[in-house]
């Protein structure tokens, strides 16, 4: 590498990670100050774990993210299968576009429209409060769904279309053939989709803000609420923990992906060897 490209890479990494490094460093600061690092301590971590409300909102966030992930992963996989089996090309393209809308749509629009829908339906049934955990869950599933479809569909398209027929030919019912053959083939896509759904849901503020009620607060909403007063360094501590959890998920995801591309490389290598051999 030439020195210029080395410099460029270094700059980019500084640009990307400087904020996180500062966050990390100051989460261990003894004092509350953002300008002076007065000494290393776990003080803010201790405070964090004794802050009931924050822990409650973290628990809420995790429950919501996990539920949204499970539901959107199952629904998204089934939807991808449906789209994959469509014969008419224009119909498939149309469905693809429609399912991608929540992905391209600005969060603020999705958030407002979701809120309007829930309030409208709530009024129809004259419920006292129309926004709660369930409305948030519906909203989260909605914006996670296209990401799952987006990950699963290419795996289906890569798959040899005769595999399902082969499994049935060899004694499987169509239902069983799916679990024995299709599922193992598309599993990497499903896992990636699920991880994406989980991080998106955990991280979402805008849509959650519009669709949450008073009795169910997620972590991003709680943090936002705190910024109206003062952000204590225990939030740095929390952010640091979340960062490392996300990093771990990302690494896991890449591991799955690498395994996949390794298989692909092996396949290519093999076909080359075959050419030479024959």
């Amino acid at each position: 590498m030439k020195w210029s490209s080395k410099l460029y890479t270094t700059l980019i990494f500084i640009f990307l990670f400087a904020p996180i490094v500062i966050l990390l460093v100051f989460s261990f600061n003894e004092a509350k100050s953002l300008s002076v690092f007065s000494g290393f301590s776990f003080r803010w971590y201790e405070e964090l774990f004794s802050d009931e409300a924050t822990l409650e909102s973290l628990k809420n966030s995790l429950i919501l993210a996990l539920s949204a992930t499970v539901i959107s992963t199952v629904m998204g996989t089934v939807a991808a299968l449906g789209i994959y089996r469509l014969r008419k090309k224009w119909y498939r393209a149309l469905l693809n576009t429609v399912t991608n809308i929540p992905m391209i749509n600005p969060d603020i629009i999705t958030g407002i429209s979701m809120m309007l829908l829930f309030v409208f339906v709530g009024r129809m049934f004259s419920a006292s409060t129309s926004l709660n955990f369930w409305t948030m869950l519906i909203a989260h599933v909605t914006f996670c769904l296209p990401y799952v479809i987006f990950q699963v569909l290419p795996k289906l398209n890569q798959m040899d279309g005769d595999l399902m027929e082969a499994a049935q030919d060899l004694g499987c019912t169509p239902f069983r053939a799916f679990f024995k053959v299709t599922l193992p083939e598309i599993l990497p896509g499903i896992i990636t989709g699920a991880i994406m759904a989980f991080t998106l849901s955990l991280d979402d503020f805008v849509i959650s803000y519009f669709t949450s009620g008073n009795d169910f607060q997620t972590l991003p909403i709680r943090i936002y609420g705190m910024t109206k007063k003062t952000v204590t360094p225990k939030m740095y501590a929390l952010a640091t923990i979340i960062f490392f959890v996300t990093l771990a998920l990302l690494l896991l995801n890449n591991l799955v992906d690498n395994d996949d591309s390794r298989k692909l490389r092996e396949k290519k290598k093999k076909s080359k060897a075959e050419l030479l051999e024959e």
């Binding site: 040899d160 005769d162 595999l163 027929e165 082969a166 499994a167 049935q168 030919d169 060899l170 004694g171 499987c172 019912t173 169509p174 069983r176 024995k180 053959v181 193992p184 083939e185 298989k263 092996e266 396949k267 093999k270 060897a273 075959e274 051999e277 024959e278």
Partner: protein, 389 residues
């Protein structure tokens, strides 16, 4: 009566399974996709222990027919019988039929052993027995040392063998093969042809083989079914099909043929290219227009003056065992295969033995096939009509 039956009818039928048991009967099968007819009233009997090939160009309906037997397509009309029982509505997993797919369709997430063991596991066979059966099957297809290998690491020929082993392990009554050799290169294909034939003989399982490769069909099959445009053109042994094609389509599709326009003035006489030849065919109406087939290897080259017909050599191609030459006789380009050496521009005579000539009824394929004009470099140069006496 009985005696007559024994003497005349039995020998004729014994050629194709009067004693053998019918395994599959296709009765009046029709199918169309999006208004386009793919199969047009097909009726066909498939016998036990037979190597039967469905042969035809792409789009003739052969794969659809195979998929119907496998259970992956349903006929719009007609019945499929399996050992006398109607099979139409039986789903694929309940049919005693297995398929070798064109691109093998091996399960990439399973190794060689598990791929072959798959059908046994589905049936709930005991572990020890699975191991024994799979190993036996792998040795049949000569892949003993490959059990633990990943299927994606195998060569095309090896994958092919895994696919065959996997399809045979349930001992199906019938094995369906959908152009299984299509993805292999020429040399490997020849080897696999021999091997498949050997496997069929040793297992005694009925093979229904789909191909568009006529050579493959001729060298492997007991019976060939020639299909075109969703209809059966001819059913017969390879020699029957080659020596006595029923129409211009079959004659052209199987091997090389010169197909000429002619008439039958009387039994055992055929007139074409301005000359009357002796032949072995009869039972045509006097003066009936017919198609005449002459195979390129059945033409004898003689000096110009001694020939029944004569013409000018327009092209010579060295093929190794023989020369393939194109001769212009009265404007019709003949293909002749000969071991003699002739030169382009040379005037030669040709002679035909009675058994070199095969007469066919006129069909919708008449006049479409059988002229080798496109082979010639000198299309417009017409030599003098040497055939006229």
């Amino acid at each position: 009566m009985l005696l007559a039956y024994c003497f005349f009818i039995l020998p004729a039928q014994a050629e194709r399974g009067a004693i053998m048991e019918k395994i599959i009967e296709l009765k009046n099968i029709s199918k169309s996709f999006d208004g386009e007819t793919v199969l047009d009233h097909i009726s066909l009997d498939i016998y036990d222990n037979e190597f039967i090939t469905l042969l035809g160009p792409s789009g003739c309906g052969k794969t659809t027919l195979l998929r119907m037997i496998g259970g992956f397509a349903n006929p719009d009309e007609g019945d499929i019988l399996f050992m006398g029982e109607r099979l139409n509505d039986t789903p694929p997993h309940k049919r005693n039929v297995n398929t070798v797919f064109q691109k093998y369709a091996l399960f990439p997430h399973l190794n060689v052993f598990e791929n072959v063991a798959f059908p046994l596991r589905e049936r709930g066979v005991k572990k020890a027995e699975i191991k024994e059966q799979v190993m036996k099957m792998l040795s049949l297809v000569m892949l003993e040392g490959f059990a633990e290998r990943s299927v994606t690491s195998l060569s095309g020929g090896q994958q092919q063998r895994v696919a065959i082993a996997r399809a045979l392990i349930n001992h199906p009554k019938v094995l369906l093969l959908d152009e299984p050799l299509g993805a292999l290169d020429l040399k490997l294909r020849k080897d696999m042809q021999q091997e498949l034939k050997k496997i069929q003989k040793s297992t005694g399982i009925t093979f229904v083989f789909v191909t568009h490769d006529q050579e493959e069909a001729l060298s492997m099959s007991d019976t060939i079914v020639v299909l075109s445009e969703g209809r059966i053109q001819q059913i017969g042994t390879p020699t029957d099909i080659y020596n006595e094609p029923v129409n211009a389509f079959v004659a052209d599709f199987i091997g090389e043929s010169n197909i000429l326009d002619g008439v039958m003035p009387e039994n055992f006489k055929a007139r074409f290219s301005g000359h009357t030849f002796s032949c072995l065919d009869k039972d045509f109406a006097p003066g009936e227009p017919v198609d005449v087939v002459v195979r390129p290897e059945d033409v004898d080259i003689v000096p110009k003056d001694e020939g029944m017909l004569s013409g000018v050599v327009t092209q010579v191609t060295f093929m190794g065992v023989h020369n393939e030459i194109i001769v212009d006789i009265g404007g019709f380009k003949w293909m002749i295969q000969t071991t003699e050496s002739v030169n382009v521009g040379e005037h030669i005579g040709i002679s035909l033995d009675p058994d070199a000539i095969h007469i066919m009824k006129k069909s919708k394929y008449s006049g479409v096939f059988g002229d080798y004009s496109s082979y010639s470099n000198e299309l417009d140069e017409l030599s003098d009509p040497g055939g006229e006496e």
